[in-house]
């Protein structure tokens, strides 16, 4: 086990994976409580448009993914309001829109399928030093912002109308929330890929919520499940050659089943 940490790419994978797992598990708890799990999927798929632009223009994929993820999040809100649609309908519009734009850009530029697959399914072993620095910077920003605003987020999750009536600037906190979700989704792309983003955001938090304990314990459990899942994915990928994102997702799901069973047996 220790010898694999002698490889630079392994160190980067563990470090980036752990940062992303913590950021995702933290914001994921609120995503679940607000019943917005589909939002992360929509944003992730929409960010393919930005990622494709980055591949074609040979510029920073993380920067483009981040910009398009945040743009996607705000477009969902705009479409919902402009067309008076439900949120899932707005996501249902944005998701294929971003995906189609991404496919069109990539096919026009004749991008290689290996390159596309890296963004669809993640490439945690191919994190360059500058990308690791960006993941650390934006991951830490997402974690600190979520920790700093968690009481406001929790109050809005519980009773948005009551919080607004009591004078809380709910629109400000909702905007901050959407930006953090966008940022976290962009972080996930390198680790789990566009298609498996929700496994990092939704599954650890869902597993932790099964335990029905207080907020601090819930986020601690979610972070632990998230980190263990990513580590398992990396190790499984290294030792038995399975794709990292898929192994991470399967372990997260096993933990969801285990925590539900544990809660049931304790009743």
């Amino acid at each position: 086990m220790i010898e694999i940490l002698e490889y630079e790419f392994m160190k980067s994978a563990f470090l980036a994976g752990s940062i992303v797992a913590i950021a995702c598990s933290l914001i994921g708890t609120f995503v679940i409580l607000r019943r917005m799990a589909f939002l992360t999927d929509g944003i992730a798929h929409f960010s393919l448009a930005g990622t494709a632009t980055a591949i074609v223009t040979r510029s920073s994929t993380f920067g483009w993914a981040l910009a398009s993820a945040i743009a996607g999040a705000f477009m969902i809100e705009k479409i919902r309001k402009a067309f008076r649609l439900s949120e899932d309908a707005a996501i249902g519009i944005i998701l294929p829109l971003g995906l189609s734009a991404g496919i069109l850009i990539l096919s026009a530029a004749k991008a290689s399928s290996v390159e596309i697959s890296a963004y669809l399914f993640g490439s945690i072993f191919a994190i360059a030093k500058d990308e690791l620095a960006l993941i650390a910077l934006f991951g830490a920003t997402a974690i600190l912002l979520t920790a700093y605003l968690h009481r406001h987020f929790l109050a809005i999750c519980y009773d948005e109308e009551g919080s607004k009536a009591a004078g809380m600037n709910v629109d400000f906190y909702n905007t901050a929330f959407v930006m953090i979700v966008g940022m976290t989704t962009a972080l996930c792309i390198k680790v789990s890929g566009i298609l498996l983003t929700s496994s990092l955001i939704v599954m650890p938090a869902s597993a932790a919520l099964q335990l029905n304990c207080g907020f601090k314990k819930t986020v601690l459990a979610a972070c632990t499940i998230g980190i263990l899942s990513v580590w398992f994915g990396i190790l499984a990928s290294y030792y038995i050659g399975v794709p990292t994102g898929a192994a991470t997702t399967l372990l997260s799901f096993s933990m969801l089943l285990a925590s539900a069973a544990a809660k049931k047996s304790l009743k």
Binding site: L33, L154, A155, E161, A165, A166, N212, C213
Partner: protein, 245 residues
Amino acid sequence: MKALEFLNVTFGYEKEPVIENVSLTVEKGDFFGIVGPNGAGKSTLLKLAAGLAKPWSGKIMVFGKENVKAGKKIGYVPQKPPSEKRFPATVSEIVAMGLKPFPSWKGMERWQKEKVDRILMEVGLEEKKDEMVGNLSGGQLQRVLLAKALVGEPELLLLDEPTNDIDAAFQEKFCCLLERIHESGTTIVLVSHDLTFMSYLVNKVACINKRVYFCGKAASLADAEGIRGAYGHDVKIIKHRHPHE
């Protein structure tokens, strides 16, 4: 002093207005009830007062200021308590969400904890303070929401059908609790479709159905001609002891 004032307010969710040209005044210290049939716009009126929706036309004033600027003076208890069974917070954490100033990210200060404990004792939930909120019954949850609204020391308390999930046995205790809150100087506006409950509790009442049909003393509600107009048929109110008479 006027605690809440609706000045020719019209509002709707789609093209059709739900309330039209409503003018109402709630004086400071009033225990004010809003009654009307289903779909009359009672809850909408309360949401407008709480600043949760913007009127199409007209003005809403709270203690002489536009209501959107008076949030810190308002406590609002919604009609439907949040129903997430696995919400990761204890009763005292939920009540603390109503504190003003809001607790910092590090946690509650000592005075804030004491205040939460005091309010929980007032609503009779001191023993449940460390219980997960998802484990509570409907009536207990309603009291938690009331405590959450009260802990911010609102001058105007807006309650939307607060007895919906409360069984008959607890309703009287809940009424006594509301009376105590009122006696401590809080102006209360209460929406209910339960005329009997309302006639027992409030001192002034407005009967609405899109517009105001009656506004006056609660004691005269049963005899008011307007109530028939609002409901479209005769309404029988079983009179209870009136604490304000």
